[in-house]
Structures are given as C-alpha cells and as structure tokens.
C-alpha cells in the first residue's frame, strides 16, 4: 500500500477514536455536573450537555480534517510514516486537550453563575438597632 495513504488512514482512524473517547468522557462526566448546576432539571442538563458535545465534535473533526494534508509524498521507509503520524496525532491531542479545558471552563462558569444568588453578605453588621414599623 502507498505509504502516504497508509499514514492518512492511520491518522484518521486514531484521531476519530481519540475524539470519540474524549467526547464520551465529557458527555458522561459533564452530565452530573450540569444536573447540579441546573438544580436537578435533567432534561435541560441533558440538552445542554448534548449541545456541548456536538460543538466539541464539530471543532475537533474540523481540525482533524484541515490538518490531514501532508503536502508531500512519503517515499522512504515506514519509520517516516510513524514520525509523520506522531506529529499529526500530537497536534490532535493538544487541540483535544485545549478543547477539553475550554469545556471545563464553560462548565465552571455556568456553575459559578448558578451559586451567585446564594452568596451570603460579605460584611458583618456594625450594630443592631430598633426599627419601628
């Protein structure tokens, strides 16, 4: 088989598996978090969770697709296939990691917003007095 084509196919296979794995992890563990944020409103949590995962897939597959092209043909040995793959997959992993942290950031923002109404007054009263109605 043509070595360039082999590299492309391996790249696609590994990238897709990695993306699906990260998205599933996010989907599974993000749900508990979102249910808490939305005060037990499970349909809403599931909906937001699903939308986030769709965005995650779109951005990652978009990146994988854009980064596929090598720009030259691999003519030498299989070692070069491995080298090319490691660079490409490395970038996919870094993008996935970045996206993952961005998602965590979004989750924590949503959560923080939901606890604001419950924050207690940050200062103590100076004294007490009688209030007439």
């Amino acid at each position: 088989m043509d070595k360039t084509l082999l590299a492309y196919l391996l790249y696609l296979a590994i990238s897709i598996v990695l993306t699906v794995w990260v998205a599933k992890t996010l989907h599974k563990n993000g749900r508990i978090f979102l249910v808490d944020v939305f005060h037990g409103n499970e349909p809403l949590a599931d909906s937001v969770n699903h939308l986030l995962v769709v965005g995650f897939y779109l951005i990652n597959f978009g990146y994988v697709s854009l980064a596929l092209q090598l720009g030259y043909r691999i003519e030498s040995d299989y070692a070069q296939v491995v080298e090319v793959l490691s660079t490409k997959i490395g970038w996919v992993l870094i993008v996935l990691g970045g996206m993952h942290f961005f998602n965590l950031f979004v989750f924590s923002r949503i959560r923080r917003r939901s606890v604001i109404p419950e924050l207690p007054p940050p200062v103590q009263a100076d004294s007490c007095t009688i209030v007439r109605g």
């Binding site: 109404p117 940050p122 009263a125 007490c128 007095t129 007439r132």
Partner: protein, 122 residues
C-alpha cells in the same frame, strides 16, 4: 441573623451624587428589596429612634428591617450585594487584598461628594 430582609438606605438629599446613585440603585434588578429614606427626614427619625442621625449625613447608612446597621463602606457593599448584577462584585471587593483599597476609594468619594456633585452640574 441574616440581612435577607428588605432594608432601608438612608441617603443625603442635598448631594447630587447621592441622588444619582439612588436613582441608579432604584433602576437595578435586585435580590433584596431596598427602600430609600432621606437621612434627616421625619420618617428616618421615627423609624430608627436609636441611631445617631447626624452621623447618617456623613456616612451612608443601611438598616435592615430586622435592625442590622451597616455604615460607610459596609453599607456600600451591602447595596451592591443586593443587586442581581453586582452580588459577585460585592464579594470580590471585600476580599482581604482588595477591601482596604475599596475602603479608601469609598472614603475619598464620600468626603468629596459635594465637589463631585458640583462637577456633575448643580
């Protein structure tokens, strides 16, 4: 005891800045209901018979319906805390690293409020 009851803000009617701030506060969405009473009015004397009414003209005073009194910078913080958009700010401002600075700023604004009012026109 908590301040999660409506509270009264005693403000100085003579200063333009105070009236502007009052108007702004009135327009904000709130978690806690806020009433405004002029510091030297009969209503203020009647409602809060025990407090030093001369001091309410020199520093902003907030009194909750269950009798908690907050003065000066604490009163400012409580007003921010009551607002939906600024509750987080109130908590941030009172962090130990920031509060001394916030206190100085509030004191500066309070003691120069008539000068600032003149700049605002009137």
């Amino acid at each position: 005891m908590s301040i999660n009851t409506p509270f009264t803000v005693l403000y100085d009617k003579r200063c333009v800045l105070c009236r502007r701030v009052k108007k702004w506060l009135e327009e904000q969405p709130k978690y806690v209901e806020m009433k405004f009473v002029e510091a030297t009015s009969k209503e203020a004397y009647h409602k809060f018979p025990e407090i030093d009414h001369n001091r309410t003209l020199t520093e902003l005073t907030v009194i909750s319906d269950n009798g908690l009194v907050y003065k000066g910078e604490k009163a400012w913080v409580i007003c921010l805390w009551a607002l939906e958009e600024y509750r987080e700010w109130a908590v941030t401002l009172t962090a130990p690293e920031l509060f001394p600075l916030a206190q100085r700023m509030i004191m500066w604004v309070s003691s120069n409020r008539f000068k600032i009012s003149r700049l605002l026109g009137k």
